[in-house]
Symmetry: C2
Subunit: 214 residues, 2 copies
Amino acid sequence: MSPQSAPTDRTRLRRMSHKAAHDKATVHAILDAGPVAHVGYIVNGAPHVTPTLQWREGDRVFWHGSAASRFLRVIEGTQACLTVTLTDGLVLARSGFEHSISYRSVLLFGTVQIVSDPAEKEARLKAMMDQMFPGRWPQLRPMTTQDLKATTILTMEVDEASAKISAEMPDDPPEDRNWPIWAGIVPVITTLGPPQPAPDCVPGMALPVVTFGG
Amino acid sequence: MSPQSAPTDRTRLRRMSHKAAHDKATVHAILDAGPVAHVGYIVNGAPHVTPTLQWREGDRVFWHGSAASRFLRVIEGTQACLTVTLTDGLVLARSGFEHSISYRSVLLFGTVQIVSDPAEKEARLKAMMDQMFPGRWPQLRPMTTQDLKATTILTMEVDEASAKISAEMPDDPPEDRNWPIWAGIVPVITTLGPPQPAPDCVPGMALPVVTFGG
C-alpha cells in the first residue's frame, strides 16, 4: 500500500507493474466496486477524514449526510479528496521490506458542491438505492419532504482522478528468492452474510437483492 | 455511516444508541481490528487522503512508506487525521431515509512525526510484522541497512481520538414499522482466502500464520 510512495531506485524497475491508471474505465470500476469512501476536508485548518458511502453517476460522485451537520455546511465550496480503497490481499515476501498489499484505490480531488434542488436530491438518492439494492426503491415507504430536507447530498467537480492497482505476487530480488520461507498472496475477501431480519420485520417479506460492492 | 453528521431533532433520541466512544479500550480495539487506515494530510493547501497500513503500540499508531517519497517528507510536523473504518453490515429500513451502515470507526487527530533512529525503525517494523504474521519475523531474510534507509516510518502524537460504533437494527419510526418490506441487517464480512503460493516459492514451506484484522 502507500500509494503516495515513489519507488526507490532499487525497486523502480521491478515495480513498474504497479499500475498507476488515470483512464476513466479503471477509475469508474474501482468506484463502483467500493461504496465505502473516505473523504478528506480541511476543517479549521486541519485535515479531517470521514468514512461515508459514495455512489457514481457518469463522471460524478455523490455522498450524503445529515442536514443538521454544521460540518457539512462549512465544507461547501472547499477542496476535498475522496478516496476509495479495495484491499484484495496480503503479499508475503522473503524480506519484511518486500511485503506489501494487493489493492485497488482511487483518489479524486475537487471542490465540494451541495445538491439543493429537492427533485434532484430525490433522484440522486434513488440512484444510490438502485445501485445497492436493485428493485427496492419503489417498494419503500416513499420519501417525504422532511426526509429530503434532513438529508444533505454532496458532490464534487472532479479536477483530478487517479487510480492505483497493485496485484502482483511478491517481487523479491533474485538473491532472496530461495530464502526458505513461504511466499505468495493471502487473499482478503469481502462477502455478504445471511440477512438478519429485524425483530419487528413484517413476516413473509421477500429478501432484498443486494449488490454492495457492485 | 456519515460520522460527521449530527442527528436531526427528529432522530436525536432514537439514535442516541449510536455510541460515540472516546475511551481508550474502544479506540484501541477498532485500530487493532482494522489495519487499513486512511490518512489525511494537507498538501499544497488541499486535503490528500491516502490508504496505508497502520499498527498500534500502546497509545501510538505508526504507518510507513517509501523514503523516496517527497510527499512523506513534506508532511513531517504537519497535522494529520488517521481514520480506520470497519464496515460490519448494511442496515435496510422501511424508508430510504432510515437506511444506514453498521460500522465501527476511529478518527485520530495529531501531528506527524518521523521515526529516524535505525534501531527504532527496525523495532517498529518488527512490531507490525509480529501483529500481522506472528512468528514470521525471525524466519525472514533479515532487514538490511538499505531496507531501513528506504523505509520511512511515521507516527502521530495523538491530540484527539474518537470512536463511533453503529450496530443497531433499523430504527424506523413506529408509523413505518408495518410497511410491507423486508427490514434488517445484511452483514458485510471480511475473511482471508486460501494462501496462493508464488510460482517461485520454495517447495514444502509451512503456510504463514496471518492475523490480519486482529
